[in-house]
């Protein structure tokens, strides 16, 4: 039997010192910035906090952020499923190249993820003159913001699904097909139920990143208030106007989203783990 280390109680001066040092560092580096967001948002009282949400640009930014996530996340989830289905359930040549390409956006600066789209669709980009002639706007408009967000978040669902589906193999799917189920039925009734927690986990991370993306979108949006500013860009604009209560009030929404994401993620991981152990015991 594998004797994995069980956490034990703090029982010596050394262990107390280690725990205290770790907690103090986490409080400094993670706790203090998080607390700052809420303290600054409330620094001029509740009425000033509420007043800041009367700004119509804030609502336009919230709507745009929700719209971008509502388009980018389902697209990347569909991609994640398709990529995992072909990579994990089939054997073909060039698989590792494909995996490397899918992972690539994770090691790119978000600013580069914005820059590349300017090089394709910008005024002096590959298709810029053509788009201008046709009167189509991609950069400094919604499509550009979407493309940047999609590029930054493209691996997040796929990376959750591929290892899990590869581990599960194709036996259950093959059994379903042998019993006469079609491809879509097999996906819906066998594959997706088997990976639901991982899928949700990926969607959650993808959504948090899509709503909070700053670097890529900052290059692509054009910063037009009330029109192309997403919520993180709106936070920047208010901060640069020295409207600190407004900036931190808007930021507190995003910080709230991050906290909800962490709570949901922790719960999902526990569900996933308990399901995994059940499957092993069965």
């Amino acid at each position: 039997m594998n004797l994995t280390a069980q956490p034990r109680r703090i029982d010596s001066p050394l262990s107390l010192l280690l725990v205290a040092a770790a907690l103090i560092w986490l409080a400094l580096i993670i706790g203090a910035p998080l607390a700052t967001v809420f303290v600054e948002a409330a620094s001029k009282g509740v009425s000033a906090f509420a007043e800041s949400f009367k700004n119509p640009d804030t609502w336009a930014a919230i709507r745009l952020t929700l719209l971008v996530a509502a388009i980018a996340v389902p697209l990347n989830a569909a991609f994640g499923l398709a990529a995992a289905w072909s990579i994990a359930k089939f054997n073909f040549r060039g698989k590792s190249l494909l995996l490397t390409l899918i992972d690539l956006p994770l090691s790119m600066s978000p600013v580069i993820s914005g820059l590349v789209w300017v090089l394709v669709f910008g005024a002096r980009g590959w298709f810029g003159p053509m788009l201008e002639a046709g009167g189509v706007k991609i950069i400094f408009a919604l499509p550009g913001i979407l493309l940047g967000t999609i590029l930054v978040t493209v691996p997040l669902v796929a990376r959750e699904l591929i290892p899990l589906m590869a581990e599960q193999g194709a036996d259950e799917e093959l059994a379903a097909v042998t019993l006469g189920a079609g491809g879509w039925t097999t996906l819906r009734r066998v594959t997706i139920p088997n990976v639901r927690w991982a899928l949700l986990h990926g969607v959650l991370l993808c959504n948090a990143r899509a709503m909070g993306e700053f670097g890529a979108v900052s290059v692509l949006s054009g910063h037009i208030r009330g029109l192309t500013n997403t919520l993180p860009l709106h936070v920047e604009a208010l901060y640069n106007d020295y409207d600190f209560v407004g900036a931190f009030a808007a930021a507190s929404l995003l910080a709230g989203l991050a906290i909800v994401t962490l709570i949901a993620k922790t719960l999902l991981e526990r569900l996933g783990v308990s399901e995994h152990t059940r499957a092993n015991e069965a």
């Binding site: 004797l3 994995t4 280390a5 956490p7 262990s15 725990v19 770790a22 560092w25 986490l26 400094l28 580096i29 993670i30 998080l34 700052t36 600054e40 569909a78 991609f79 398709a82 990529a83 072909s86 359930k89 089939f90 040549r93 590792s96 490397t100 956006p105 600066s109 978000p110 600013v111 580069i112 820059l115 590349v116 789209w117 090089l119 394709v120 910008g122 002096r124 980009g125 590029l151 493209v154 590869a166 194709a170 799917e173 093959l174 097909v177 491809g183 097999t186 709503m211 909070g212 700053f214 670097g215 900052s218 993180p232 936070v235 920047e236 930021a251 995003l254 994401t261 962490l262 709570i263």
Partner: protein, 288 residues
């Protein structure tokens, strides 16, 4: 599971497509290829194609301009320094989270991931306020003559927060699965705590620590949102490489912006190759 493990090919050469009774390959694979082609390959091709507009000289001129060079140096040095500190403190935090039980351990564990979930712009304005002259931490440091906000130190401090979860999450699963029988055997044989840590635990953790370092470094070098508010962005002093790209784009210098982008990707790639080589060397060392 790593990419290499998933795609580990059988001994004989894989055919282009191994036969399977499972339907849907054409549709799923077709969609995957089209998506990767449109979203990843096309824009990256545009990036790689662009810097050579004015020949190799144009590329060199963009990269070796003093302002660009200073920004590249700052981004990569600050990322490396922050990743080194994060390897040490990430190991400490992973150790404490797996080995000791204390109140709110699960809450603390979940909180480690906050830098993954918190939008970078939010972290950025919070850090700038916290370390500013009137902030909680800045006002304590100011009388000591330490300035963090609007200096290169600010870049380093912001990257400490950005990189921490990468190291903790790389090391934690290894620590959790580490068979304590080895540690106990070493203790029984009379090894001191320090010896056990250095000779038994560290070798097992080394690959995970290297992975954590590489991930924290890559993320830190490209980081934008959490850095620009605290950095002060003075050209040549506290201006980071991604900001140089933004500035060049605003001046419609596409070739220059693409040059800096390609240079950043090349350095990141080199670090990735070096860390991979280190992993391979480490995994060979233990074998007979």
């Amino acid at each position: 599971m790593t990419a290499a493990a998933i795609s580990a090919a059988p001994r004989r050469a894989t055919p282009w497509l191994e036969h399977s009774a499972l339907p849907g390959f054409r549709l799923a694979f077709g969609f995957t290829l089209a998506y990767v082609g449109a979203i990843i390959v096309l824009p990256l091709a545009a990036l790689v194609a662009r810097p050579w507009e004015h020949g190799l000289g144009g590329f060199a001129e963009a990269i070796f301009a003093p302002r660009t060079l200073a920004a590249l140096r700052l981004s990569f040095l600050a990322a490396a320094a922050a990743a080194v500190v994060n390897v040490a403190l990430g190991l400490l935090i992973a150790w404490v989270l797996t080995r000791y039980d204390f109140p709110f351990r699960r809450v603390v564990d979940a909180l480690v991931d906050l830098p993954f979930a918190l939008p970078t712009a939010v972290a950025g304005i919070a850090l700038a306020t916290l370390y500013g002259p009137n902030g909680w931490i800045g006002s304590i440091l100011a009388p000591l003559g330490i300035k963090v906000a609007y200096t290169p130190t600010g870049v380093f401090v912001a990257l400490l927060a950005v990189g921490l979860p990468f190291v903790v999450r790389s090391v934690q699963p290894v620590l959790q699965d580490l068979d304590s029988a080895y540690e106990e055997a070493a203790h029984t044989l009379g090894a001191s705590r320090l010896t056990v840590f250095v000779r038994v635990i560290m070798p097992a953790l080394a690959p995970a620590l290297i992975t954590g370092f590489a991930l924290a470094f890559a993320r830190g070098a490209g980081e934008y949102g959490s850095v620009i508010f605290i950095a002060g962005n003075m050209p040549g002093v506290s201006e980071i490489a991604p900001l140089v790209i933004v500035t060049k784009l605003e001046a419609y210098d596409y070739a220059g912006a693409a040059s800096v982008g390609v240079a950043m990707l090349l350095v990141s790639l080199a670090v990735l190759i070096i860390t991979n080589a280190a992993q391979v060397a480490l995994s060979r060392r233990g074998r007979p």
